[in-house]
């Protein structure tokens, strides 16, 4: 159910050009007139335009790409990269939370635990998925599965894509903060390899609640930070409309996070963004996960815990008098 007509402002000139190329190709097909030269010329122009637009995206444009309604979601990566998926839905506490999809599957033939935030593409889907905003039940389901991954020695592969944990009355009553906190600790102590890939939005504790992994990978046009640009600007400027400014100040792009040493790899996206070619995006993601998983598999369970502890214990920028 992709929306072929949807385009971000900065994509439009490119899409217009590409649709013109498409029309010319169709005309050429039945052809008294030969448009080959014209098509080649336009294709060159399109490539140049695409390179221009995408070589110099602003942080705000990247945030928009990360939220593109046609962007591949967790289930798209799941279908492309995994086989034998068995969904496991129960938190055994209160309810099924479909903002997080989770279960067992095979990656390159070997059993793993796979999990991720899941957004919906239609209004109806988003009612079910709650726009990818988990309630405590989602985090508690995840926690239960982390315990199983530990016991059955399964690597844990996670996809992060959430505008945040859900801020509602019920979520607070049932301990949203506690549910996330427990996951941070449990994930930090797993002795199996764990890899998270930020595929779209990584908003604050709602993202981190699935994100304390041995390795953090991040798609080229994803964002990850302590707060969304909108919330940041409504606090700083009392105006969510200043989100563009906040997006710049927060340093939330894959390039920023890689520069800070927070992420372990930036995964390239297909030209024009992951939404332009789901299959290719999945291939790039799969290759990156495969590479990091192979490295982690060389470590003993004790080394895996120690390696992850060191990674997170070292994060922070400060000085001391010494």
């Amino acid at each position: 159910m992709l929306k072929p007509t949807f385009a971000l402002d900065f994509e439009r000139p490119l899409l217009a050009l590409q649709s013109k190329i498409g029309e010319l190709k169709e005309l050429s097909g039945g052809a008294k007139v030969d448009f080959t030269d014209e098509i080649l010329k336009l294709e060159r122009k399109a490539r140049k335009l695409q390179a221009e637009i995408f070589s110099d995206l602003t942080p705000w444009q990247i945030v928009q790409l990360a939220r593109h309604p046609n962007r591949p979601y967790t289930l798209d990566y799941l279908k492309a990269l995994f086989t034998d998926f068995v969904e496991i839905e129960g938190d055994r506490r209160f309810a099924a939370d479909r903002a997080i999809v989770s279960g067992f599957a095979r990656f390159d033939g070997a059993p793993v635990l796979v999990m991720g935030h899941q957004k919906g593409r239609s209004t109806k889907e988003n009612m079910v998925r709650n726009f990818g905003m988990p309630r405590p039940e989602g985090y508690r389901k995840a926690r239960r599965l982390f315990d199983l991954a530990e016991r059955f020695r399964l690597p844990v592969l996670i996809f992060i894509d959430t505008p945040g944990a859900y801020p509602g009355i019920g979520a607070e009553e049932r301990g949203q903060a506690e549910a996330i906190a427990v996951n941070l600790e449990v994930m930090s102590g797993l002795s199996v390899p764990t890899i998270s890939t930020v595929i779209g939005e990584g908003a604050s504790g709602g993202a981190l609640g699935l994100g304390v992994t041995s390795r953090i990978l991040m798609l080229q046009y994803a964002w990850y930070n302590v707060i969304s640009p909108e919330s940041c600007s409504s606090i700083l400027y009392r105006d969510a409309g200043q989100a563009k400014k906040s997006a710049e100040g927060l340093k939330l792009t894959a390039k920023d996070l890689s520069g800070f040493g927070i992420t372990d790899e930036t995964v390239q996206e297909p030209l024009g963004g992951a939404h332009r070619d789901h299959a290719l995006a999945a291939r790039y993601v799969g290759e990156a996960i495969r590479r990091h998983l192979a490295q982690l598999k060389l470590l003993s369970p004790e080394q895996i815990v120690a390696d992850r502890y060191r990674k997170y214990r070292a994060i922070g920028v400060f000085t001391s008098d010494e």
Partner: protein, 285 residues
């Protein structure tokens, strides 16, 4: 998701990660209007009573160092890691540069960041202990706060002693972006390592404890205690109201509400805190 509560009564210097700093000036008056009973009280009387209203028992916020005076055996507090100093890894600025905001807040509070920690003893039990300073940018957690919390835990791990953390915070400090988010992971990982020594970690939530601190070490206590009527939760009330578009019920997200929902273990008034901590330490320590 904002992790920043917006209670105007909280007099934080530098603002709780918020732009409009309306800092309380020194010597702004000798009277204080109680948030509980609205009576006007002589400030010196309030302070003498550990910032508890002598008329209605309302717990006002208390400057960080007074907490150690109240709780620790006299003369046992040894402050550590006081030299950790925040930096500006993002080059962040809004109405003010983050760097300047840090400097100005350090000047008015006499603190380098929003956490004070060290060692001491309670009823003769040695503890590794720390407390948030809400007066420093709303007690928000950046790299320094996260590091100091982790060191409180690490010190308890190394010395095989219990640890206690008092939280009073709007959550993560957005001026430090992803670094501030990752302090949640860092402190939780430190706690996970600490569990092996089988010593208690007691978390005390003061007013307010929300956002990234609530969603990490503050809610990971073996025992989680709150002061009466503290605002505690993941999302701030304003964010929830905006999301669900209705008014929140009275008492929502307060200590008493959380106790009813099984989310905390006990509510302990400020003046009983010392004895309660000593009791738990003697049972589990």
């Amino acid at each position: 998701m904002a992790w920043f509560s917006k209670e105007k009564k909280l007099k934080s210097k530098g603002g709780p990660v918020e732009a409009q700093p309306a800092p309380a000036k020194k010597g702004e008056g000798i009277w204080n209007k109680c948030d509980g009973c609205a009576e006007v009280i002589y400030k010196a009387d309030l302070e003498k009573n550990w910032n508890i209203c002598p008329l209605c028992g309302h717990h006002e916020m208390m400057p960080v160092r007074r907490r150690f005076d109240l709780l620790l055996d006299p003369g046992t507090f040894q402050e550590l890691d006081a030299d950790l100093t925040p930096q500006d890894p993002l080059g962040f600025s809004d109405a003010k540069k983050y760097k300047d905001r840090l400097k100005a807040t350090a000047k008015t509070t006499g603190l380098r960041d929003a956490f004070v920690s060290g060692t001491g003893s309670i009823g003769g039990h040695p503890v590794s202990i720390g407390s948030f300073a809400f007066e420093f940018m709303g007690g928000s957690m950046g790299s320094v706060v996260g590091e100091k919390v982790a060191r409180v835990i690490d010190r308890a791990y190394e010395r095989r002693i219990p640890c206690i953390v008092f939280s009073s915070t709007g959550g993560a400090r957005m001026q430090e972006g992803i670094f501030s988010l990752m302090q949640m992971a860092k402190t939780s990982a430190a706690l996970n390592r600490f569990r092996a020594v089988r010593k208690p970690y007691i978390s005390v939530m003061l007013h307010p404890t929300t956002g990234g601190v609530a969603a990490s070490f503050a809610w990971l206590g073996d025992v989680v205690i709150a002061e009466p009527k503290a605002l505690i939760g993941f999302a701030g009330p304003r964010v929830i109201e905006q999301t669900i578009r209705e008014k929140l019920p009275p008492g929502f997200q307060r200590s008493e509400f959380l106790l009813e929902h099984g989310m905390i273990d006990a509510i302990v008034p400020r003046l009983e805190m010392r004895d309660k901590l000593a009791q738990i330490l003697s049972l589990l320590g």
